[in-house]
Amino acid sequence: MVDNRSSRRGFLQGTVALTALLAGGCSSSKEQPKTAFEDSVATFFQDNYQVMTKDEIKEVLARVERRVKREYGVDIKCENTPPVADVAFGYALNLSKCKGTRRCVEACVSENNCGRNHSLENIRVLAMPHGTMDLNKSDHYYDHEQVPNSNDWYLPIQCHQCDEPACVQACPVEATWKEKDGIVVIDYDWCIGCRYCSVACPYWARHFNWSKPNLQPDEINPKTHYLGNRPREAGVMEKCTFCIQKTRKGELPACQEACPTGARVFGNLLDPQSEIRYILENKNVFRLKEEQGTQPNFWYFYDV
């Protein structure tokens, strides 16, 4: 394994150096600003995030910042805050309180630099007719004059950050994996865009950038994470990351902050004092499609 790794690295670095030379940059001194071409060549030969060294990651983060500056004229900060020890994230959602306002969806889109096209919403809120749990009867595009509509109840669905994620199993190139704090992430620079993960996911939680995301400079959230909300390119997969850029710093995810009814409870499953632990221990919680066997970390419950 070690040999493979180093020979691959050697090959890659050789190619990068060669291409940089061919591109006209005679031995690039560190101070010189990188051109867009040099950057895209370097991104092309970039390794999988999981096996990068610290130095490589540093370079990669700087490259992401430069790319966003070039493409949108915006200065962003791209970090790679690691998982915090003794933290495993979980989410619980109170269906009695959810009124279908879709505030979480809006907040998610702007927090996470999602393209402003309909399909790129990482939370779906389904309007379900009273008296059924059959998702095939749901309405994804409800446009009620007033929510809640008296005939419906509402079911918000996003990535459940499964413990046995079908998506991770499916990916042919290990572009997606589960982090130590339970968040399932994607390396957007490694994803080949085959969409097999989205075929495998039972919660329809993965969304593809069919074109370059439709994102205006003034809409960009400059606080980003490499595995989270940094602006994506065309042809790669994305998903909910429990707002990795916020939650790893102890903040709440944007969807919970935005929820006007207090239906959402996010927290650390390993902390016995946390609200989510209280809910799991005292409410009659359930998980959606548990029979799919992916072990979600997302629970639903009713107040009464």
Partner: protein, 420 residues
């Protein structure tokens, strides 16, 4: 001494490659007309692909709801053709060793062309095709053995390699005035057969291994794939062999056609039987598991074309089977041709879009969705078919020239070992 021998061998190899290449440029107006039209189609399709590369897959009819379509539908179909091409010639081969070796070569050529077509279809479907190297061993990070797609990449690549080796061995030896040694290449053919079964099984597992997609999540998907691949592969070979019989020095024997037709009957029988079993399971009760099948057969989602094509496919499959069942009909060339075309069409629509699309409707969140391939998608798909046709034409042309046309090494061979 051995150095000299080596250099002669290398020299022969160069001459083999050169002679084959030169032969590709020799042909009448029919040949050139055919090749140039194919090239024109490829160029036209490449331009369409240029649009896709520039603007992303948004130029296709695909969406998050129906995320695979025409490309992957064709992929599954061509994996079947590739698998069948090799497996099919084997029974024929075992029965009549000597006459049938020639057919083996054509089967191998078809397999090579079909695998390449299948690979091109997957590549066309990628959002980041330039990153394909992420799936290469050592360089990339292939998720093997966990991901079934990774398995598919591995077995397809091996299958291509093994078939190229067999083709090379058979043709190169013949070219050097030696007859190939059965004992040497038959084991490799056995490997090719096993891989042939694997590529198609793995491709079926890629779909059936998704519990979240009940339409595919059935254990008989792999057997169904194999049965329909045998039927469609046989159909394609019957048609191709006849075309080659007319347009080249290749001579087709009645016995061979009969044998392939017989295989087609059995394959078609199993294919229809398994389809029937699926339909029974889907319709005897009305559970959530069967919604996709109900939608497919009743067109409740507005996929009228898909519903229509599924019914046409079943009708075509049944009529072809009725023709093939009767020996007198089966041995009538025109009827056999009609049956072959019907089966080819039936399998293509039943296993292409007819299998891939319903798997996505409803989505795991119960959304009904629509998909129509865009013009760009259709152009790219046709161009990939054309690439396949070009590859098969060239391989078959060289193979036939060596087997039947006496394309040989010019110099007499003395120093080479003659263990025939």
């Amino acid at each position: 001494m051995s150095k000299e021998k080596n250099s002669t061998k290398n020299h022969n190899k160069v001459e083999f490659i050169l002679a084959s290449l030169i032969h590709c440029f020799k042909g009448g107006w029919l040949y050139w007309g055919w090749m140039l039209s194919l090239i024109a189609i490829v160029v036209y399709g490449a331009m369409a692909y240029g649009q896709q590369a520039r603007y992303g897959l948004s130029v296709t009819g695909l969406s998050d709801q129906i995320t695979w379509g025409l490309y992957i539908g064709n992929f599954t179909f061509f994996v079947g053709v590739a698998a069948a091409a090799v497996i099919l010639v084997i029974p024929a081969y075992l029965l009549h060793r000597n006459q049938m070796r020639r057919v083996t070569i054509l089967g191998e050529s078809l397999a090579v062309a079909a695998v390449i077509v299948a690979m091109l279809f997957v590549t066309a479907d990628l959002g980041q095709p330039l990153r394909f190297w992420h799936a290469l061993p050592l360089l990339g990070k292939l998720n093997f053995p966990t991901s079934i797609l990774a398995w598919d990449i591995v077995v397809l690549a091996l299958y291509l390699l093994v078939n190229l080796i067999i083709l090379w061995y058979l043709l190169y030896n013949k070219f050097c005035h030696k007859s190939p040694v059965v004992k040497r290449y038959f084991p490799v053919i056995v490997v090719a057969i096993i891989l042939g079964l694997s590529i198609h099984t793995v491709t079926a597992f890629m779909l059936s291994g998704n519990p979240s997609r009940p339409f595919w999540h059935t254990a008989i998907l792999a057997p169904r794939f194999i049965a329909s691949a045998f039927a469609a592969g046989a159909a394609l070979m019957i048609i191709l062999f006849q075309i080659l019989h007319i347009t080249s020095k290749f001579r087709l024997s009645k016995g061979l056609i009969r044998e392939i037709a017989l295989i087609m009957v059995f394959a078609q029988f199993f294919s229809l039987f398994l389809l029937g079993a699926e339909i029974y399971t889907a319709f005897y009760h009305n559970t959530a598991h069967d919604v996709s099948a109900h939608l497919l057969f009743t067109s409740n989602i507005g996929h009228d074309n898909l519903t229509l094509s599924i019914y046409l496919a079943i009708a075509a499959g049944l009529s072809a089977f009725s023709i093939l069942m009767v020996r007198r009909f089966r041995e009538n060339v025109s009827l056999l041709n009609i049956a072959s075309i019907l089966i080819f069409f039936a399998v293509w629509s039943e296993k292409g879009l007819g299998l891939v699309i319903p798997g996505f409707v409803p989505t795991p969140l119960g959304e009904m969705a629509q998909y129509t391939p865009s013009t760009i998608e259709i152009k790219v798909a046709i161009a990939i078919w054309a690439v396949g046709a070009i590859i098969f034409t060239l391989l078959a042309k060289v193979a036939i020239a060596i087997e039947f046309g006496g394309l040989r090494l010019k110099r007499p061979v003395e120093n080479t070992d003659t263990e025939i």
